[in-house]
């Protein structure tokens, strides 16, 4: 049984009271999805007193109670970061806002803000993700959303997430992927979390800094002020050992040429006689679905569909859903028009500029063509 389950079991024993046998512990032993079990809450008091009975000359005497001893539980500073992506995140070369997902758990025994940092210039990979930024999951929608209504951008020291004992937070690292990378190239980025008390006491959150503490380092009176009346010390815990390997987790991106898939379907044919046969003059309705893999992303995506000589584009039949900002679903395109979406008459091709798309994005392009 882990320490947390024993703690819960002890409370259950006292609650049961009158029963002779202790009931099953099974219901109290919850499985933890995160890292090591945490101990008794910081500020807790451990009290003990003994009682004695005795007799003199055959007569029982009044029971005697000893003095009471009392101890206070100090706060342990500990946290663990775990990469949540099951495999390297598939991205296209040149993508922006590509997200890695991490879980940060407070494995200490008191409430603590966690100071986060990114480590990108890591050795042993094929490229360095750039422009890395941290976001805190805050809008209730799974995955990273950047912008209005999206997740909160993180600034160290300004909005360090406050985690209660044994609580967790989802943190994203969004990066840009350099251009010109070959499929299969791997780029790594690490997220690091350090209890803010350590930063406040030492001025550093970098394990490479000489001032970074070792397990057992004690900061008197620095414990969670909300408990113990400021009497509680903060003690650096065991995840700071061995160069703080558990305070950081590695995430990886992999260049994936298959991050975007295109599917084209002829959804209907109507012939001049009211049927659906392919005859000269029949109108064919085409639908192209552009899908970005959930773990992928696309950068500066342009879709071109060259029509064969037997098909002629039906003017003003182009639709794009959803239509990216700045594009118009008309036949004009640059340089004659104002955008990059339209019909390229010189090359007999439908052109749609979709720009940057995030993982899971889907766009449906449709147009009509006449059989010549």
């Amino acid at each position: 049984m882990d320490a947390r389950a024993r703690h819960d079991a002890a409370e259950a024993r006292q609650w049961i009271g009158a029963t002779l046998e202790v009931l099953a512990f099974a219901a109290l032993c919850g499985a933890s999805m995160h890292a090591a079990a945490v101990g008794t809450a910081a500020g807790g008091r451990i009290d003990s007193a003994a009682q004695m009975t005795y007799a003199v000359g055959g007569v029982a005497q009044s029971p005697v109670t000893s003095n009471a001893t009392s101890m206070i539980v100090d706060e342990v500073l500990d946290c663990v970061v775990v990469d949540q992506d099951a495999a390297p995140v598939a991205v296209a070369s040149g993508a922006t806002g590509a997200a890695l997902t991490f879980d940060v758990t407070n494995t200490g025994n008191g409430s603590e803000p966690m100071r986060l940092a990114i480590e990108t210039a890591l050795a042993g990979d094929d490229f360095d993700p750039t422009s890395a930024a941290i976001y805190l999951e805050s809008n209730g929608t799974p995955g990273l959303q950047i912008g209005a209504g999206g997740d909160t951008a993180y600034t160290a020291g300004a909005n360090d997430p406050v985690l209660a004992r044994d609580a967790s937070a989802l943190v994203y690292v969004a990066s840009s992927i350099p251009l010109g990378l070959a499929p299969g190239a791997i780029g790594r980025t690490a997220l690091r979390a350090v209890p803010r008390t350590v930063f406040a006491e030492t001025g550093t959150d970098d394990p490479a800094n000489a001032a970074f503490p070792v397990p057992g380092t004690t900061y008197p009176g620095a414990g969670d002020a909300a408990i113990g009346g400021g009497n509680v010390a903060a003690v650096v815990g065991s995840t700071f050992a061995r160069n703080a390997l558990k305070l950081r987790a590695l995430g990886a991106y992999a260049i994936d040429a298959g991050a975007v898939t295109l599917t084209k379907v002829a959804t209907s044919v109507s012939d001049p006689r009211g049927g659906n046969r392919v005859l000269p003059g029949s109108i064919v309705h085409y639908q192209i679905t552009v899908a970005v893999a959930p773990s992928g992303s696309a950068h500066d995506l342009v879709v071109r569909d060259p029509l064969p000589a037997t098909l002629g584009y039906v003017p003003s039949s182009l639709t794009v859903a959803p239509l990216p900002a700045g594009q118009q679903a008309d036949d004009d395109f640059l340089p004659a028009g104002v955008d990059g979406t339209g019909f390229d008459g010189a090359n007999d091709a439908v052109v749609v500029t979709l720009g940057d798309l995030a993982g899971g994005a889907q766009t449906v392009i449709s147009f009509n063509a006449t059989v010549r």
Binding site: R4, I46, A50, V56
Partner: protein, 163 residues
């Protein structure tokens, strides 16, 4: 008159058999808590020492020592001194750590209602009755066999680990 004096004599004799003045035996009980701290000796060997316990951390080991002294002028009867100590909240008893010279030690798993030798303690887990382990103990009891003469003292102790 003769019968009244005789009756009075009998009443006095009867009283002296069953009634004892309070504070004739004064036993004091004191508890101390000490942290069992591991340290590395100059020669590199790892040893333990006891230091006062005021601030503790989950996982720390603590020794409780309970001392009893007969401060009175009459001896305490043999086999009547019984010291009972609940396992403190937020800790669990460390197996085989209870000590007391001249004592028989028993444990409770039901909050101090009943006490049994360690080998006889059972708990129910998942509907099955199984032998109890040290983590199940709620209370420890020492029964001191010898008499305790005036001015004599002895002690019992036990270790716990913080949850």
């Amino acid at each position: 008159m003769k019968s009244t004096k005789h009756l009075f004599g009998i009443a006095l004799a009867a009283a002296s058999l069953g009634w004892i003045a309070p504070a004739a035996a004064d036993v004091a009980l004191t508890t101390t808590a000490q942290k069992i701290e591991k340290f590395t000796a100059p020669d590199g060997a790892v040893a333990t020492r006891l230091i006062p316990a005021q601030k503790v951390l989950p996982g720390d080991d603590v020794r409780y020592t309970i001392t009893f002294v007969n401060g009175g002028d009459k001896p305490v009867d043999a086999g009547t001194v019984v010291v009972t100590n609940p396992v403190p909240e937020h800790t669990h008893y460390i197996a085989d750590s209870a000590f007391g010279s001249g004592t028989t030690i028993t444990y409770s798993v039901d909050g101090g209602r009943t006490f049994h030798p360690a080998a006889d303690l059972m708990v129910v887990r998942d509907g099955v009755k199984v032998p109890a382990t040290a983590e199940d103990y709620t209370t420890i009891r020492w029964k001191f066999a010898p008499a305790l003469a005036p001015a004599a003292q002895s002690f019992v102790s036990f270790n716990v680990r913080l949850d």
